[in-house]
Structures are given as structure tokens and as C-alpha cells.
């Protein structure tokens, strides 16, 4: 089985908290805004920029500490 594309892996890790629909949307929106890429074009080297772009959204919903922990978790698993 081919490995899951990077953008889908990020969305999978976020969907537990944001739901499938919004996790996908967030990855798509911030790929475009922060990197000017489509999700499919996302490469491992782009991950830190994408995670930085996701930070304000998570910080708003769950606060700074929890947002950082979730981002660190994604970084560890995919970085």
C-alpha cells in the first residue's frame, strides 16, 4: 500500500480535534496562504511553515500550551 501523502497525514492528526472536514480545510487553506502550494505539493521541508501557519487557529480554540503540544506531536510524527 502506498504511503499516505503528507497533507493527508497532517489532516489525519488534526481530525481528532477539528473533525475531518475542518482538518482538511485547514491544511488546504494554510498550504495556500503560507506556502502558496496545493496540499498535494506539500513536501516534508514545508512542514515547519505549515505548522507555524496552523498555530494561531489552534491557539484560539485550545490555548497556547495545548496548541504547541499538538503541533509538537505532528512535528515528531511527521518531521
Amino acid at each position: 500500500m502506498p504511503p499516505q501523502p503528507l497533507h493527508e497525514q497532517v489532516a489525519t492528526l488534526l481530525k481528532t480535534w477539528l473533525g475531518k472536514h475542518n482538518a482538511k480545510n485547514a491544511v488546504k487553506m494554510f498550504c495556500k496562504r503560507a506556502l502558496n502550494l496545493t496540499p498535494e505539493e506539500l513536501e516534508p521541508g514545508d512542514l515547519p511553515i505549515l505548522l507555524d501557519a496552523l498555530r494561531p487557529m489552534l491557539r484560539t480554540l485550545v490555548g497556547e500550551v495545548s496548541a504547541e503540544m499538538v503541533l509538537d506531536d505532528i512535528r515528531r510524527k511527521l518531521g
Binding site: 473533525g19 475531518k20 480554540l61 485550545v62 495545548s66
Partner: protein
């Protein structure tokens, strides 16, 4: 705490309150029961909001929202205690003044808290479900419902105020606060739907349920106008108020739970 428990807790409480109300109908303890039940529901709301607020760090966006909600209910609670003490011979002017100040302060903080929670989707740049048109329609329907329910009271108070009855200002502020906060049901519900399937949808679903409880509470206060006996109407108003307070408590607990769970994801890896 499971989501099922967070939903069942307010429902069971409210059913118990309603049943007890009917059992005590016409008995001398009827009013005492409502006083105790109301303050207990308020305490539960404060506890839920406060425990959630304390989970956040200083400067976090939603910490302010939960603190505002907790303080607003604490003001109502202290108003009840103060008015009870003042009823032992301090005169009505003093009572009216304190009541006015506390109702306006409590209402303002409640609206601010709910507004902050209702616009979290905008700050977080979430995409709400449905087309712009369907969202606008939902906003319009809920606003019309809120105005239908809280509007007549606001209008009566406005007329009273124009005629020089300054005490009506408090009731007017309260009714306007009700209309604004009831309109916030739409963004709360749309946020919950946007986050559906994720743990974060839970607090917003429960907040929308709480606001629905307040909507029903306001509707029940109109019952005597259509000929429902005052004591019967009281049972329903207090049942819906308990429902609103307890769902508010559940929302706070649900949000706290998600925030803590997110932190434990990291801890599990670290160990």
C-alpha cells in the same frame, strides 16, 4: 467524562426539577425549593465555566470568554444573596439600585462571554458549513425567533421608560441582552457543525444547547400572558433555566477535557 454524561446530566437534572416542582405545587416549600434549585444550577454553571477558564493560560482568547461567563453568573448569585439580606428592612430604593446595577453588569458580561465564544470560528478562521445564503437564512430565522420571544418584553420596557419609569431601564437592558445572546445560537451551532467529528465540536454543541435552554426559558416567561397559571409557568421557566445553566456547565467541562486531552497526547509520547 463522556459526552453522553455531559448531555444526560442537564437533562436528568431538569426532568428532576420539573417533577419535583409539580410534586410541591401549592405547598409552602414551593418557593424555597426554587430558590435552592436556582442557586445550585447557578453554582454548577460557575463551576463549569471557572474550571474551564483555569485550564487556559493568561492571554488565551477563550480564557476571557469563560471568565466573563463565570463572573456574570457569580454576579447573579451574589445579587440574589444581597437582595435576600436587604429584604430584612433596608428599603426598596436600595434594593432597586443594587438589583439594577447587578442585572446590567451580569447581562453585559454574559453577552460578552457568549460573543467571544460565538466568534471563535472567525478568529480561528474556520470554514462554517453551508453556503453564505443558507447561513444568512439561519441567522435570520434565529434572530426572528429571538425577537418574537424577547421582543415584547423589550417593547413594554421601552414604553415604560419613555413614560418616565426609570426602573424599566434595567429590564430593557436585560431584554436586549437576551435578544443579542439568543441570536448567538446560530454561530455557536455553525461552529459545532464545522468541527463535527472532532472533540472540539463538543463544547460548541453544548453551548448551543445551553442557549436553546435560555430561549425556552424566555419563551416560558411569556406563558402567564396566554393564561397559564403563574405557578405552572414558574415550573417551566425554572426547568428551562436549569437546563441552560447545566448545559453551560457541561460545555465548560467538555472544553476543559479537550484542552487537557491535547496536552496528554504530548505527555504520552514524552514518557
Amino acid at each position: 467524562m463522556k459526552m453522553r454524561t455531559l448531555i444526560l446530566m442537564p437533562l436528568i437534572w431538569s426532568v428532576a426539577v420539573c417533577a419535583t416542582g409539580f410534586l410541591l405545587l401549592g405547598k409552602p416549600v414551593f418557593q424555597i425549593f426554587w430558590r435552592i434549585e436556582l442557586e445550585a444550577a447557578r453554582l454548577a454553571f460557575i463551576a463549569g465555566c471557572l474550571t474551564c477558564a483555569l485550564t487556559f493560560q493568561s492571554g488565551d482568547y477563550l480564557r476571557r470568554a469563560w471568565i466573563c461567563l463565570a463572573i456574570s453568573m457569580a454576579i447573579y448569585l451574589s445579587r440574589d444573596v444581597t437582595l435576600y439580606i436587604l429584604s430584612f428592612g433596608f428599603g426598596t430604593t436600595m434594593s432597586d439600585l443594587i438589583n439594577s446595577f447587578m442585572v446590567i453588569a451580569g447581562n453585559t458580561l454574559f453577552v460578552i462571554g457568549m460573543y467571544l465564544l460565538a466568534r471563535a470560528w472567525k478568529v480561528a478562521e474556520l470554514k462554517l458549513p453551508g453556503s453564505k445564503q443558507s447561513q444568512r437564512t439561519t441567522y435570520a430565522i434565529v434572530a426572528a425567533l429571538a425577537i418574537t420571544i424577547a421582543g415584547p418584553t423589550a417593547w413594554t420596557n421601552l414604553i415604560g421608560l419613555i413614560r418616565g419609569d426609570t426602573i424599566m431601564l434595567v429590564d430593557l437592558a436585560s431584554a436586549l441582552g437576551d435578544i443579542i445572546s439568543l441570536c448567538l445560537i446560530t454561530p455557536l451551532l455553525l461552529t459545532a457543525l464545522a468541527l463535527r467529528g472532532g472533540h472540539l465540536s463538543r463544547p460548541w454543541f453544548l453551548l448551543a444547547a445551553s442557549m436553546l435552554g435560555w430561549l425556552l426559558y424566555d419563551a416560558a416567561t411569556l406563558a402567564p400572558m396566554i393564561g397559564v397559571e403563574r405557578e405552572i409557568a414558574k415550573i417551566f421557566t425554572e426547568t428551562f433555566r436549569a437546563l441552560a445553566c447545566l448545559f453551560g456547565c457541561s460545555a465548560g467541562l467538555a472544553h476543559r477535557q479537550v484542552v487537557i486531552r491535547m496536552r496528554s497526547v504530548q505527555n504520552l509520547i514524552a514518557h
